[in-house]
Amino acid sequence: MNAFRPARVAVLLSAVVLHGSLFAQADPEIEALREQIRQLDQKLRVLERKQELKDEEAAAKSKAAPKVTASDGRVEVTSGDGAHSLRLRGLVQADYRYYADSANDTPDSFLLRRARLVFEGKFSNLFQFVVQPEFASTIQILDANVNAAFSPALQLRVGKFKTPVGLEQLQSDPVAFFNERSVATNLTPNRDVGLQLHGDLFGERLNYAVGVFNGVPDAGNNVTGSSDSDHGKNVVVRLFATPFAGEADSAFRGLGVGVAASRGTFSGTAGRASGYRTDGQQTFFTYLSGATPADTVAAVGRGTTVSPQAYFYSGPFGVLAEYVVSSIEVQRGTGRVADVKNHGYNLSFGYVLTGEDASYRGVSPKTSFNAATGTWGAFEVVGRIAGVDIDDTVFTGPATLRLANPNVSATALTSYGLGLNWYFSKAARANFNVFHNTFKLAPGATPAPTALIGDDETTFISRLQLSF
């Protein structure tokens, strides 16, 4: 449209000049010229308007057309009105585990830790969905759920998703300080099938979640997403406050404090089948599981998990802490029912050496690694101390009655971790972590020289991760 304006101005100026020079001439001639100018002006206006209409039509078509975007490896298709979208994301983690010192001489190994494709999207601005298959190790559907967001304060999620208990468990894998979550997460439930009401209140200062799930053992996943194996349901409540969120000038805007609790009845295998693991992902505790029911420990009653939790992020510094108490009523064969109460804790911290802000949702490097331009991305140092204390009652009594074998299971584990994270970009990260785990043995335990708990475990785990 603007292209025509100079032309119109030129014509009008010419008209003025002509008008002046011909002022003295006869009226009919002036009138004829005036009419000619009027007609020229109209023609130019018409051309301008037609161009304007074409531009409007083109803009409307472009607005209505679906948009395809690709950034940081993500591909997203969004409808013209933005109400519908489908996004494809992915996560690949390739590890190398080196066991520097462990009594059982575990083989060092390359490992594909996670290989996931994430399909997520929304319908009509009301429903969001996530489908996330896992292709590494046990192939399974990790997440498959639909969230109906009636408002930020009232949302209903149905399907399979993370049980809202453990703070570190709820954090996305690729952005955690360490490449393996702390040993405290051994005591919190993982993904389960159920429904959850949740939302943000008071200007996103308080997040709540109330849910009912089939119930999974400590750190367990409902791998198949199948129906409940018992009649009991697990009820979960979590409140997490970020009281200074949104206050840009507050030194505590990165503070979050909360508590989560779950309670339900369980039957079947107590704890997860493969037991509780070290940072090196080796089993340091498991309930007895023998060839006969008399030699097998099973859950037979109420299970409760309580976890106070908090994080604080300020500039490049971040700290995450949680404490977990997990109790479960278990029974060996037809023996006594024991109320076993295990404790876990985790204190992790990180500092981004290159100055970027740390957050619960990860670090966004200011630059991406590029040898040609001399940019290196971001570097972060991390540290952790964590532990699990198993209820001594599982080791008491004669061998025919006790619930765990003291010669293969430790009564406590203390874990120390140090690491360096190199963010090549927002999507690519390398981790270099060293873990040292020490075991406390039950009274009278005489583990074999090759048993894991016979000596401390020191592990180096490196990872190259692509998360988009």
Partner: protein, 332 residues
């Protein structure tokens, strides 16, 4: 047992929250010149609904050429109600997508037309081209602004009004077609909707005469000043009956059936009719509103679409369908 109690409480809490936070949203898909009318009417209805039920209702508006708007709804735009320029466009929702029943026009009084209007001419101050009647629009050198009848309901009223004038004056369909062809030869810009055509004439300064909805012409006088434009009332014009309907298939899915129905019914209330008159639409049912605004609207001989063209279905097929008379006279 405790779990069951909890589950019941959770369900009750969900229902309670959902019930207490009843915020309803309606989408009214309308034609171009009704923007101002529905801004005021929506506020009035929201207040009425809140007072009646305690619920909050927000009405979103969508405007464009009437035919184009009908196609958007047929293509999936989730309109709770349509308030379009002509019954033919509303009927397309039944004909093409079965979104409404065949007898939709019988569900509300006055054939679902809560207000009426007609077609007049808007000319520039002083009427430099001496426009008096339809004949003047077909004279050489007169620049006419009217929207595209393929996309605009208002433009179809314009087209049919001109056609019927010529048929009556010159005596045959052929003469009417020749007259309308001459008139459209004078059309400088063919906008997709009435509001765009108003912009072309009023704001962009194009054309000598704008064939306009009566309400749109009054709005132009009101907004831009009587010193800039004049309304010319032709010797004969058409009774334009914009119609309204609840989009059954949408409201059933959204659960907004009751409020959508009440919304349209409120157009027939005293307040609804008064708001229509205030925005230069002729109230269709309220005697009080008719009396109040009688002096605003000029007297003009009006014919109906049924009398002159045998109804919208026939008129659309003859004149505006692909290959119809408009395509024949306006082929480029």
């Amino acid at each position: 047992m405790k779990t069951k109690i909890f589950l019941s409480s959770l369900l009750a809490a969900t229902l309670a929250v959902a019930a207490s936070a009843k915020k309803i949203e309606l989408l009214n898909v309308s034609y171009d010149p009704t923007r101002e009318l529905y801004v005021e009417f929506n506020k009035a209805f929201a207040a009425h609904w809140k007072a009646t039920t305690g619920d909050d209702v927000t009405i979103k508006q969508s405007h464009g050429g009437s035919g184009k708007q009908a196609r958007s709804v047929i293509d999936g735009l989730r309109a709770d109600v349509v308030t379009l320029a002509l019954a033919g466009d509303v009927d397309a929702l039944h004909q093409n997508a079965k979104l409404i029943p065949a007898d939709w026009q019988k569900r509300l009084p006055h054939n679902s037309a809560p207000y009426t209007s007609t077609i007049v001419f808007l000319v520039r101050a002083g009427n430099p081209q001496k426009i008096k009647d339809w004949d003047d629009l077909a004279k050489p050198g007169v620049s006419v602004i009217t929207p595209n009848p393929k996309t605009s309901g208002g433009a179809q009223w314009n087209y049919l009004a001109a056609w019927e004038y010529a048929r009556r004056k010159y005596g045959s369909e052929e003469q009417a077609k020749a007259f309308v062809a001459r008139l459209y030869k004078n059309v400088a810009v063919l906008d997709s909707g009435a509001r765009g055509a108003t912009t072309t004439f009023v704001q962009r300064g194009i054309g000598d005469v704008f064939i306009s909805w009566e309400n749109e012409a009054f709005l132009a006088l009101h907004e831009f000043g009587k010193d800039k434009f004049e309304i010319v009332v032709p010797s004969i014009s058409i009774l334009a009956e914009p119609t309204v309907a609840v989009v059954d298939q949408v409201v059933k899915r959204k659960g907004t059936e009751a409020v959508a129905k009440a919304y349209l019914e409120y157009l027939y209330s005293e307040e609804g009719q008064d708001i229509a008159g205030k925005h230069f639409y002729r109230p269709a049912v309220s005697d009080a509103a008719k009396k109040k605004y009688a002096s605003v609207f000029p007297k003009v001989e009006l014919f109906t679409i049924d009398e002159a063209f045998g109804g919208w279905t026939k008129a659309k097929k003859t004149h505006f369908a692909d290959g119809g008379t408009f395509d024949q006279i306006y082929a480029r």
